[in-house]
């Protein structure tokens, strides 16, 4: 076991060949548009950068981004219709060289996208590797614009194309080749397997998700608005993290697909990063959080991850990489005889009754407001409770004339007992909903109760013909 005050080693050797001082790379996107940006990012603490995709020159539109805000939080999800780099190839190549000269220990990966011709791919591989790129990322994921021209996700959605172009690149490449996967496909493993068959050294996942973020209710034009019209874009940011984690798990849980994986999708802080690493990623890539707050966020990504690793006694990333993969199973292997129930820690309850209404309307009607009152025993519906309140007569209490309602000594907590709900544990199915909606930390906890039954999964139950449960379920 490591010593208490040891310094965890955050460095990563991706696919055995690409070194970076920490697992935090910038994803191929606006934050890696030019050399000046990438150098400032490295100064801020980023371990690597995947250069904004290079290829034949394009022309962009304005505007390009739109976002989803949620309950006052900006940019929960971000959508873009920007294409690959709009700068000349030779400028990008010159700046890649310059960055590598000045920052030899940082990883610079060239993201590539050219038309589906062997010679074109051979040429771009040669040019970027000559410029000094430490690795190549094949952009088979971009879902908008480029896909209409037979590139990006138009390649990544067809396993045969993915395999073929990966093979072309591998014919020429001397550095590791990563294939960036699109999530806009029914089974991501099929394309991952094709990339692996094509000889890829690693994968990146996920690229952005096809999206229309919203429609202006005055002009009826979806966002982003380009002269009164819009087009579907690619969705990213915190909202997509759960989707990305699932797709990462799908790839890493599949022996024919699994490769060193660079995790992407809504990573905003060190906890997000740790989750991707726990599902088997070798490092992570970040874009939206940087577009929102700037390069400076990497400081806490590194600091927070190191502190967590110290607390868990992980000396290096490899010590926990993939540790959660074994904990993801098919549903049929989950234990049917495991039971938890909700417990309300009434001393913490503030009386908002969100658990009550959630359980009645969204779950199993097993949380009740019957701690006080004459209706003991009779089950009251939410509407009955509301009707009583609306009929009550309230008035402004004047300090001199009226006694304050609290302090009569009969209430054990600041919250009136009448507003503290009760869980009927016999009826509770342990769904978690009440704990999820409760605004107070640790006020509702889910506690295991003994069922007296041995662990048994659906698979086991169905495999056991003598089990009577088989018939009635």
């Amino acid at each position: 076991m490591a010593e208490k005050n040891f310094t965890p080693d955050l460095s990563v050797m991706f696919a055995g060949k690409i070194y970076s001082p920490n697992p935090f790379w910038l994803a191929s996107a606006p934050p890696t548009n030019c050399g000046e940006q990438v150098m400032r990012a490295f100064d801020a603490g980023w371990g690597g950068a995947v250069w904004k995709t290079v290829g034949d020159p394009i022309v962009n539109v304005s505007s390009r981004y739109s976002s989803i805000d949620w309950n006052g939080q900006r940019m929960m999800g971000l959508n873009n219709i920007e294409l690959i780099t709009d700068r000349p190839l030779e400028v990008n190549l010159r700046e890649i060289s310059e960055v590598k000269k000045r920052y030899p220990k940082h990883a610079v990966i060239a993201s590539l996208m050219v038309e589906s011709k062997r010679e074109a791919w051979h040429k771009i591989v040669q040019q970027t590797e000559d410029a000094g790129a430490d690795g190549l990322e094949l952009n088979f994921g971009c879902p908008h614009g480029m896909s209409e021209r037979g590139m990006g996700s138009a390649v990544g959605q067809v396993p045969e194309y993915t395999q073929m172009i990966t093979e072309w690149v591998k014919e020429k490449a001397r550095t590791p080749v990563l294939v960036k996967l699109t999530p806009n496909i029914s089974d991501i493993r099929v394309v991952a397997r094709a990339a692996k068959r094509g000889g890829a050294d690693g994968l990146s996942a996920i690229n952005t998700i096809n999206s229309i973020t919203g429609i202006d209710l005055d002009t009826f034009v979806p966002r982003p608005n380009v002269d009164g019209k819009s087009s579907h874009g690619g969705y990213c940011g915190p909202a997509v993290k759960p989707i990305a984690l699932n797709l990462v798990q799908q790839v890493q849980g599949d022996a024919e697909a699994s490769l060193p994986l660079s995790g992407i999708g809504g990573i905003s802080d060190w906890r997000d990063a740790a989750e991707f690493l726990l599902l088997g990623c070798s490092n992570v890539q970040v874009c939206t959080a940087v577009m929102h707050y700037g390069y400076r966020i990497v400081e806490d990504m590194a600091d927070g991850l190191a502190n967590w690793m110290r607390g868990k006694r992980f000396a290096r990333i490899a010590d926990f990489q993939g540790k959660s993969l074994r904990n993801v199973q098919e549903w049929k292997h989950l234990n049917l005889n495991y039971k938890i129930v909700a417990r309300i820690h009434e001393e913490k309850c503030i009386g908002c009754e969100l658990c009550y209404t959630a359980c009645w309307d969204g779950a199993h009607q097993c949380i009740h407001l019957d701690r006080v009152g004459p209706n003991g025993g009779e089950r009251m519906t939410p509407a009955m409770h509301e009707a009583i309140s609306k009929k009550s007569i309230a008035m402004t209490l004047i300090p001199k004339l009226d006694h304050a309602p609290t302090g009569n000594g009969s209430e054990p907590y600041a919250t009136p007992l009448a507003r503290i709900p009760r869980v009927d544990e016999d009826e509770c199915v342990g769904c978690n909903l009440c704990a999820l909606v409760c605004p107070v930390e640790s006020c509702i906890t889910m506690e295991q109760v003994e069922t007296g039954l041995a662990a048994q999964s659906w698979a086991q139950r169905m495999g056991d013909a003598s089990n009577p449960a088989r018939k009635c379920d």
């Binding site: 006052g72 609306k390 309230a394 004047i398 300090p399």
Partner: protein
């Protein structure tokens, strides 16, 4: 009605009485609205005497449905705009917010309510009656204060005819004449009454219907009569010199600056009393230019009827408090032209809990204006003229659920019933009574 414009442009009044709770801008309102937990059967709603569905109207602000938000408020409380400004929210909705029990700032419900109502007015204040059809049945309301207005508005909403009789030239009662201008402008009060008039409520001003003859005429002409008469004149300071012109009771002082353009005040002002009206007068005196404002009270702060927040704010603004101080004489100059001081004695509570004056404790507080704020008297003469009306301790006795008095023809609400509480209490009384009267009218007319 042109009265609404009458006070719009009194720039000096506006300048001297900036709003104590400035409006929220759109972004701040949405941010604040998003903090609301959307409690089920919310304590804020239960605490509001009019039971405004607070989480619902706040959610609508968060979701960009400002008209829906305002209509949610108005559905429960037709004077939602003035209540948003004058309610002592820290002892009502905001005082009940569950965040108090979670070490967080309560939601700024009052300011959010104002935000929705301001948008309603910006939008042209369009309000439809609930029942488009006219229904048989007519009611008279005496007094055009919040209780009557609320009662009349709900009756009209349901299609009945409602007429409001008011002695004074302007409607709104204390909302127009008596609420501190930094909380609610008279013009805003009048604008709100205009909304009620637009529903079809009839207002008759300068009508004193307090005589027995006038009341029996009303009894003949109307199915039911609602008494929203409030309270009468303020108690006088019953000491030598108490009738001097330099002694002005608090309600007159407030009405003078609010609606009579009288923006003068003494240089050194002594306010007698420690209720909310006393505080309003003291703070107004400061705004009108008094150099020194002192409040005199014969007990101490633990007995005052003012709300704690009001008291603290007055202290912050520079009002000085003299506890255990009882005025015994207003000292006037030799030529009787002006007040020179107020003579007081010290008081104390004896072991039996009785207040007594201390001998040899006379002292004078120099001042040139005295504002007594020691409570309003009930309108006993008027009440005696209502046949069979039971009155207890100056308050009209009613059935709480229906507002019905001991004379089944008469209903009552607001200050004449509760002895003097808040605008929202009067609105709640009026609304609750209207619902009961509407049922009776349905029975009566089929």
């Amino acid at each position: 009605m042109s009265t609404a414009q009458k006070y719009e442009a009194n720039p000096e009044l506006v300048a001297r009485f900036p709003e104590i709770h400035p409006p929220l801008d759109q972004v701040s309102a949405v941010t604040e609205a998003n903090r609301c937990l959307y409690c089920f059967d919310a304590p804020c709603m239960a605490a509001c005497p009019t039971h405004i569905d607070v989480p619902r109207f706040i959610k609508k602000i968060a979701q960009g449905n400002l008209r829906g938000s305002a209509l949610t408020i108005l559905d429960a409380n037709i004077l939602g705009a003035s209540c948003a400004r004058v309610c002592p929210v820290d002892v009502l909705c905001e005082g009940a917010c569950v965040f108090h029990r979670y070490n967080k700032q309560p939601i700024e419900i009052g300011r959010l309510q104002r935000h929705a109502m301001d948008a309603f007015w910006r939008d042209g204040a369009k309000l439809e009656r609930k029942a488009a059809a006219e229904r048989p049945g007519r009611v008279a309301c005496i007094g055009a204060g919040p209780a009557s207005v609320s009662f009349a508005a709900e009756m009209r909403m349901q299609g009945f005819r409602a007429t409001v009789f008011e002695r004074k030239p302007l409607p709104g009662g204390l909302n127009t004449y008596g609420v501190a201008e930094y909380k609610l402008r008279s013009s805003d009060s009048l604008r709100e009454i205009e909304l009620v008039r637009s529903l079809g409520v009839e207002f008759l001003f300068g009508k004193d219907v307090g005589s027995e003859a006038a009341l029996s005429k009303l009894e003949q002409d109307y199915d039911f009569i609602f008494l929203g008469i409030g309270l009468g004149r303020m108690r006088e300071l019953d000491v030598p010199g108490g009738k001097h012109a330099g002694v002005v009771d608090a309600l007159k002082f407030i009405a003078d600056y609010k609606t009579d353009g009288k923006l003068t005040v003494g240089r050194r002002v002594a306010v007698v009393g420690a209720g909310n009206t006393a505080i309003d007068a003291a703070r107004a005196a400061l705004r009108l230019g008094a150099h020194e404002v002192r409040m005199l009270y014969r007990r101490d702060e633990s007995s005052m009827s003012a709300f704690l927040l009001e008291y603290e704010q007055a202290g912050d603004e520079g009002v000085r408090f003299h506890w255990w101080t009882q005025p015994v004489e207003v000292i006037v100059s030799k030529d009787s032209s002006r007040v020179e001081a107020i003579q007081c004695v010290r008081t104390e509570m004896n072991s039996r809990g009785e207040l007594r004056m201390l001998a040899e404790s006379r002292f004078a507080i120099p001042c040139d204006m005295v504002i007594p704020a020691i409570g309003q008297l009930p309108l006993m003469e008027f009440l005696r003229n209502c046949r069979g009306l039971q009155v207890d301790g100056g308050r009209v006795v009613v059935d709480r659920a229906t507002g019905q008095t001991s004379n089944p023809k008469y209903f009552a609400g607001g200050d004449c019933v509760n002895g003097g509480r808040e605008v929202v209490d009067a609105v709640a009384d009026g609304k609750r009574t209207a619902l009961a009267v509407a049922k009776l009218l349905e029975k009566l007319h089929g």
